[in-house]
Amino acid sequence: MHALRNVLGQMSVHRSDESVEEGELMPTATIDGRKARIRQGDTILDAAKKAGIWIPTLCYHPAVSSDASCRICMVELDRGDWRQLVTACNYPVRRDIVVYVSSERAERARRGVMQLLLARAPESPELRALAERMGVKETPYPKVTESQRNCILCGLCVRVCEDLIGRSAIGFAGRGVERAVAAPFRQPSEDCIGCGACAAVCPVGTIKIRLHEDEREIEISPFKSRAKLAVCKKCGALVVSTQVGEMALGKIEMDSHKAMGKCEEYLERVHLCPKCRRSDIATRFGTVLAYRKE
């Protein structure tokens, strides 16, 4: 419940230019010569998006706070008499600034980071594709050991699970080279509700969802956490993890108080598979139209 509120909260704060208030400071970011006016406190990455300049990102996602741990979004910031490499995803623009994304030093820094990451996740097609786009073909470094392979430790999954879903079913274990994303004690987590948000945000495709249809379970790999799947009340198809359903239901029930009891139909629909849900809506919609025609 809490998590969903968070999700909605995040969405509602997502700003658009129309909401700019009068008199608010709008610094200009000049990125590779292109100018973008942005709200004070927005990041270099926000500004670059506005200016239409691509900066590679891995640990960044607009729905969660920035951690700047992957270091792939390094850009050069003009400090007057010197230039500093900063991470675009979390550097807040507070005044007019000049930034270089495609300077030689910035590109070399990003490529260097990518080479290090490729030694960790050499098999990830997503990472390889990004590397190619950045002009990195190979890594000169020996690959990390098998057990650590394929996770770049960006932590997006951890932040999503904690900040948005509110479950903290996974976290970082170990320190330094031993660091790994894991459920407590590296055992299947009881806190995991099987929502799959971690898999959805994983930028290197390492976290995967596995369906065990016979057991009516969803598994989040590689954490081995499993959750029971609900069955569609109409057709019997597997819908979603029961806990995710309950969470959604809780959210609707809470809102239904505000809606003065007009939400019963939604409560029903939660127990249906997407296909049956669509047909249910269509049927009801048809009834309403018929009523209006009369």
Binding site: S69, R71, P92, G112, V113, P142, L153, G176, R179
Partner: protein, 622 residues
């Protein structure tokens, strides 16, 4: 005492009266004996000596006024346990339990020296009986360590009698917060934790930052290998840290302070706890300090053993109960630090300097040191010097004077090779730069840094590749692993260094190391990552030939890297005793009685057993 009913000092004059009374009481006890209970001397059994002195003083009867005192680190750890007799400043070294009766009888009662315990200058062979005569102390200038060795750190009365908390009284009775900050600014005090950021500028930013409450933090998470400066201050004079924090908090406008001490320093924690309790009892901490409107409290937090928690943002995360990992400092901690409130963090030594600046004035402080680095710096001088220990020197002193005069030169007649300063973020300074002046900017120019004050002296037997490997390994183990650059980059550097030290280095490895170093410097998240390549870079800069010898000739010039040099038996020195032959695990040594032994290089695995065992040092490294 002139303290009030509840035992609290409620006015500035109360403190003054208390001090006068303490001093008047002191004259009655004619002699005191200071037993060093710093880390080094404690390890050598000094607490037992103190106990025995107490016992002896008790037995001596009421007519003999002798006051034994357990004091903080006196500095010359090499010669511990150290005992100093006052008045007279008589310095006794390497005191053992049986010596106590003699010191008591001869020096305390009879005013005679115990000759064999007197320090002998290894350079001249002269006996030097007082602290002031010993070169180790002569070159030093003590501010942060001023009362170390003078006061009993467990007694607030000792500190007060020496003028303790008078700087606080001065601040509260006659200065505004802006006065305090300006005074520290004029003094030119810079952060002693390593970065050297101007302290007053930090204080002012924090004072001017929006938001409340504001916090002040003392960073006592000293984690550099071979460093024990902050520990000596926290254990030897905890009140000067508390007083410094009080003054800083007054300037900044903070009412809550934290001292973050590493868990490996249980004695520091005890001493600080005790000091805070005593200060609270006297009303020097808490509400309305000395009757003023200023209130301030301090809490102690213990670290969990992570080196990275010495980094300010990681320390704050740890204080908040989160994982100790750094965050980007694009928004400074003075604006948004602990619990996203304005927070000012300074190192132990920085805080310890503050009361002295207030008491003696900025003019006095800025008169010491160089143009941009004022005051003194405490170093823990360790490694291959004759006199290891804790030293405090004026900024601008040359490295040579520290190594030669204070340190007494290199041990065993060997020659100096390099001095490592700044801990794992610093670098090695070679012999040709020994005349460089110790100040923040000068050391940075040389590719090293001031750091928090570790100073490791290395001699000709030290392999610089191995040194780089050691520090890189330390950093790899202590990297928090949050950012790619440090976690992966340092590991890859270590991989290359290990390869070189094994004789498996490849042409181009040094370039690869330099490339990784540049990457780390530019892209790592925190200062520890950004500087992680310094040990490697500085050794490449000054000792490139050693790297080349390892890579191109599979030879370790310092003969330290196993497998990269040979053992041979000097036929003239060999007495054919057979010990090496008997101990060789590979049966690689042959030889008969009265015939010099020979090592079969084909069989030898370079384990070094023969070198260790030979009683005639006939086994040589070549």
């Amino acid at each position: 005492m002139t303290v009030h009913g509840n035992g609290q000092l409620t006015d500035v004059s109360d403190l003054q009266h208390m001090r006068e009374e303490l001093l008047s009481l002191r004259i009655a006890s004619a002699k005191s004996i200071h037993v060093c209970t710093g880390p080094g001397c404690t390890a050598k059994g000094s607490p037992k000596l103190y106990e025995l002195f107490c016992k002896a003083a008790k037995q001596a009867g009421a007519n003999v006024k002798v006051l034994p005192k357990a004091v903080g680190c006196h500095g010359l750890c090499e010669c511990g346990p150290i005992v100093i007799v006052q008045p007279g400043d008589i310095f006794y070294q390497r005191v053992e339990e049986p010596d106590i009766a003699e010191i008591f009888r001869e020096t305390l009662l009879g005013d005679r020296l115990v000759d064999r315990l007197v320090y002998e200058d290894p350079a001249t062979g002269k006996k030097l009986d007082t602290v002031g005569k010993i070169p180790f102390y002569k070159v030093q200038e003590r501010i942060a360590l001023a009362y170390n060795g003078l006061i009993d750190p467990t007694q607030i009365t000792d500190y007060i009698a020496e003028g303790g908390y008078s700087a606080l009284a001065k601040v509260l009775s006659s200065m505004t917060p802006e006065d305090v900050i300006s005074e520290v600014e004029r003094a030119g005090l810079r952060g002693r934790g390593g970065g050297g950021f101007p302290t007053a500028r930090k204080w002012r930013s924090c004072r001017e930052a929006k938001g409340s409450p504001k916090y002040v933090i003392c960073n006592g998470d000293e984690g550099d290998p071979g460093a024990f400066m902050d520990r000596a201050i926290m254990e030897g004079n905890p009140h000067c840290v508390i007083e410094g924090m009080l003054i800083g908090a007054f300037g900044i406008g903070s009412e809550q302070g934290y001292i973050y001490v590493r868990n490996e320093y249980p004695l520091s924690v005890d001493r600080l706890k005790q000091a805070i309790e005593q200060a609270k009892k006297l009303g020097l901490l808490g509400e309305n300090i000395l009757g003023s409107s200023f209130s301030f409290d301090i809490r102690i937090n213990r670290g969990g053993g992570a080196f990275v928690c010495g980094e300010s943002t990681a320390l704050m995360a740890s204080l908040e109960g989160r994982t100790g990992e750094p965050r980007a400092k694009y928004i400074h901690t003075v604006e948004s630090g602990l619990w996203e409130k304005p927070t000012n963090l300074n190192n132990v030594e920085t805080w310890a300097n503050v009361p002295h600046i207030i008491n003696k004035g900025s003019k006095w402080f800025s008169g010491i040191g160089t143009q941009k680095s004022k005051g003194t710096k405490v170093f823990s001088l360790v490694g291959k010097v004759v006199n290891t220990g804790l030293v405090e020197v004026p900024m601008g002193i040359t490295l040579r004077r520290i190594v030669d005069e204070i340190g007494g030169g290199i041990r065993d007649g060997k020659s100096f090779k390099a001095v490592q300063t700044g801990g794992p973020s610093g670098g090695c300074v070679p012999a040709e730069h020994l005349d460089a002046r110790v100040d923040f900017d000068e050391l940075t120019k040389l590719g090293s840094m001031m750091g928090s004050g570790g100073m490791i002296v290395m001699d000709e037997d030290t392999c610089m590749v191995n040194v780089a490997k050691y520090f890189t390994e330390f950093l790899q183990k202590e990297s928090c692993g949050k950012c790619t650059s440090c976690r992966e980059g340092v590991s890859q550097m270590l991989h290359i260094l290990e390869r070189i030290a094994k004789g498996e280095g490849q042409v181009g490895d040094v370039d690869k190391l330099e490339e990784l170093a540049e990457l780390l410097e530019g892209t790592a998240l925190c200062a520890l990552g950004k500087t992680a390549a310094n040990p490697t870079l500085s050794t490449i800069r000054y000792f490139r030939d050693e790297y080349d010898a390892h890579i191109l000739e599979q030879h370790c010039p310092a003969k330290e890297c196993r497998g990269l040099f040979l053992y041979e038996i000097d036929a003239e020195a060999c007495k054919a005793c057979g010990i090496c032959k008997k101990n060789c695990p590979e049966d690689a040594i042959s030889g008969e009685k009265k015939v010099p032994h020979v090592i079969d290089q084909a069989k030898c695995t370079r384990c070094g057993t023969c070198w260790d065992k030979c009683p005639f040092t006939a086994v040589m490294k070549v």
